[in-house]
């Protein structure tokens, strides 16, 4: 399965960094789309189906929390896997996002952290992606 991913962040640098991490992670990627704020992100989602949304919180025009609320209110995106990638440190605000079904990855993040979170919330397992792990039998040389 190849993932179509939308990355929404007002920082072009952070979008590029997230996309780079995605490409280095070994995940099977389809289209990788980008948007600079929540409003642009909603517009992209009207035109394209994605399997995963990576979302910043503090953005101009429409922030990530508002975008997430609108997504959850629409039947076609109500269960879209969402990972909030943000510097947000307020537990109050993070708890509200988690109640909306988002996973949280705090910046700064290690690439493995983002990859593991994607695997967890999309339900893809290492075994499915990397294939069955070979098991040495009785005739093994070891």
């Amino acid at each position: 399965m190849a993932f179509n991913v939308l990355v929404v962040d007002d920082s072009a640098v952070m979008r590029q960094m997230v996309v780079r991490t995605l490409r280095m992670s070994g995940l099977p990627l389809g289209m990788v789309l980008e948007a600079g704020n929540g409003e642009e992100g909603l517009f992209v989602l009207q035109e394209q189906w994605v399997d995963l949304l990576l979302l910043d919180i503090n953005m101009p025009v429409m922030n990530g929390e508002e975008m997430l609320r609108r997504l959850r209110a629409a039947p076609e995106t109500a269960s879209l896997p969402v990972i909030v990638v943000s510097t947000e440190g307020s537990e109050t605000r993070l708890a509200a996002l988690q109640e909306l079904g988002a996973a949280i990855v705090r910046k700064p993040f290690a690439p493995e952290t983002l990859r593991d979170t994607i695997l967890r919330i999309t339900g893809v397992t290492d075994v499915e992606y990397y294939g069955p792990v070979p098991v040495a039998g009785d005739d093994s040389d070891f």
Binding site: S11, M17, N58, S86, G89, S90, K107, P108
Partner: protein, 166 residues
Amino acid sequence: MSSTTVQSLSRATTATFEELALLFPEQELSPEQAAAPLDVAVSVEFRGPQRGRLVLRASSTILSSIAANMLGEDASRERPLQRDALGEIANVICGNVLPAIAGVEAVFHLSAPYVHEGVDVVSRGADEPTASIMFGLENGRAEAVLYLFSDMDDAEPVAQGAVSAA
């Protein structure tokens, strides 16, 4: 509070450079690092339970390494991307230091990072930094400075320190 704030700033700065830029701040500066000018600066304003600014000053000699590690070798040669990468580091440092000094329930609003060319334009006249740290990075150095503003203009004097391990 001052030493606690310095420690919080140091931890946030170290962790951000290590994880985001794969660079390891050095507490002891070499003569080459100490002589390198701090000729680029970025700032992030914040408001919430406290209002202030995080300023990150750096030697331009380290910008290509930061950009390369964050964005790849191609991006490392583009000057605007180098400065934007430094801005993102400042943004992440700011986002991580604020909960440490104001509590995890506090909600802050951060401005987009602003890039300054030159070093004298990032403080507001009589503003005194609340905390600052200086550290070596590759063949240059950097300084993170935290300002907490108050309406009564009663900010505590600067507490200086060196980067410690995250």
